[in-house]
């Protein structure tokens, strides 16, 4: 597989696409999120798998997002996600609240190619009360248990950042197997990577368990340090200062615009990618 450019990858994302994104602790592609802002993406529908973080907040701040389904939006130790909070208050985005295992279960149903799967918990929560697309049944196995059925969730596009891709088009995410679930459940996967390596991960017994088969990968783009400020496995850590600086700047619309000009559109930001 020949890597494409980050800009070409962003250009392949149509407005209105349903995009699955992992949060800050599980390999988000912040590089592609920034490229989508530069391209002027609009009307995106984001799925936080199972929650949403920094990449989601900047996409919302830049006006790229129409709605999100997620179990939380947070900047972790830096607190609430400021652009998400503002957009919700101002009625610029819709949110469908979920709970973490519900997102996983809906994706696993898609992964298995079945129309729905059951999940315990949920009953008595207002999350369920606000999800007309979820349904409570009595177990057909005669136990009398009430249980919730969740419809399969099929994202158009999975977006995440892997450590590396090989020349056969496989990507390697280590133990972050939720990226594999997203890739399996989505129609196509766009993956940014730190580097391209010769060979085939599937032929290496030690690399194979952390690999995602090229079957699921539509395109790879090289974006060094493409998860930052999020961490990437044992490659690099969280940039706490960067997130704290963002959280302060993005409290206001003007502060976010200034932050964006420097960190998304700035000459340095683009040159680095």
């Amino acid at each position: 597989m020949t890597p494409i450019s980050l800009a070409a990858m962003a250009a392949s994302v149509p407005d209105g696409a349903l995009i699955a994104l992992p949060p800050d602790n599980s390999l988000p592609s912040v590089a592609l999120a920034k490229a989508l802002i530069r391209k002027g993406a609009r009307g995106l529908r984001l799925v936080g798998v199972p929650i949403s973080g920094f990449a989601t907040d900047i996409l919302i701040g830049a006006g790229c997002v129409a709605e999100i389904e997620t179990s939380a939006v947070t900047l972790g130790e830096a607190g609430f996600a400021p652009r998400f909070s503002a957009a919700l208050r101002e009625g610029r985005i819709k949110i469908r609240d979920a709970t973490c295992p519900a997102i996983h279960t809906r994706l696993q149903a898609a992964e298995k190619g079945v129309p729905f799967m059951p999940l315990r918990g949920l009953i008595g929560s207002d999350i369920l009360a606000n999800r007309p697309d979820w349904m409570v049944i009595e177990s057909p196995f005669g136990t009398g248990e009430k249980i919730t059925l969740l419809p399969a969730l099929h994202p158009d596009i999975a977006v995440f950042h892997a450590v590396m891709a090989d020349t056969a088009g496989n990507v390697w995410v280590g133990r972050r197997r939720e990226c594999a679930t997203i890739a399996h459940a989505s129609q196509r996967s766009l993956v940014t990577v730190e580097r391209l390596v010769e060979g085939n991960f599937l032929e290496d017994e030690r690399l194979c368990p952390g690999a995602i088969n090229a079957t699921y990968i539509e395109a790879v783009a090289i974006a060094e340090r493409g998860a930052l400020p999020a961490a990437l496995l044992d490659e690099y850590g969280f940039d706490t200062d960067y997130i704290m600086t963002y959280a302060r700047a993005a409290k206001t619309e003007a502060g976010f615009a200034e932050w964006c000009a420097e960190h998304v559109f700035g000459a340095q930001a683009v040159a680095a990618e």
């Binding site: 929650i51 939006v73 609240d97 709970t99 008595g124 939720e178 496995l233």
Partner: protein
Amino acid sequence: MSAADGLRAQRPGASTKELNRPAPDSYRVEELLAVSIARLIRARPTRHIAVGAASPIPAAACWLCVKQGDPLRLSLLHKRSGNPFTEGSRELFDLTGQGRIDLFFLGGGEIDGQANLNLIGTGEWPGMGVRFPGSFGSAFMYFMAGRTILFREEHSPRVLVKQVAHISAPGISEPGVYRPGHAQALVTGRCIFHFHPEQGRFSLASVHAGETVESVRAMTGFYFEVEGEVPETPAPTPDELALLRGTVCDEMVETYPEFCSRVWGRAQAA
């Protein structure tokens, strides 16, 4: 929920009965809460604890138990190196669904007297007043973990309310719903409540130094039971403080750098 919630232990007229006890200004409220949670962990048989997002004080309590020699398995969802989950982030919920997690921790933007949790927000759905981050795994974990210790440092009438605006996860469930687990206790910056799922009510178990039943009542929006004399929450011992500031902090600094720097002055790794 904000990092600015930190209440310092404040202390006029401290008791001099226990000479071996550190003066209240010699420990931080975060340390008192961590040792209090550690006692609640030991109060019931516990083999496997999971700790979720944004829970540095519960994580410190778990590490304290481990460093004191308790044979616990600790699964930290946000641990970057050596993360325990090899099947993706769904594995925590799969394990819990199987009954393999004995204890979990949850908080809430609002918590009411029936132990209902609101992590959604205030005002009209979906939190058009103040929006909180969201429910995370609460709507599943609260039911399915063997038990849950609720933790919220801010203890005020806006947090501990008569009735939550929205229910992320209910404190009790109707018949016919599979529900093995409930709240064990609620730990706040002022006191410890125990929860009684049969009655759907909290009782006051202890008050932290400087608080009284009356002062807790005044700052709590929900009704709670008081049975007999309510003791003072025991202060951290010098040994506990040494562990927290030493090896517990060592374990936590990678995952909670901001917390370790704020509470223990531990410099962040470059």
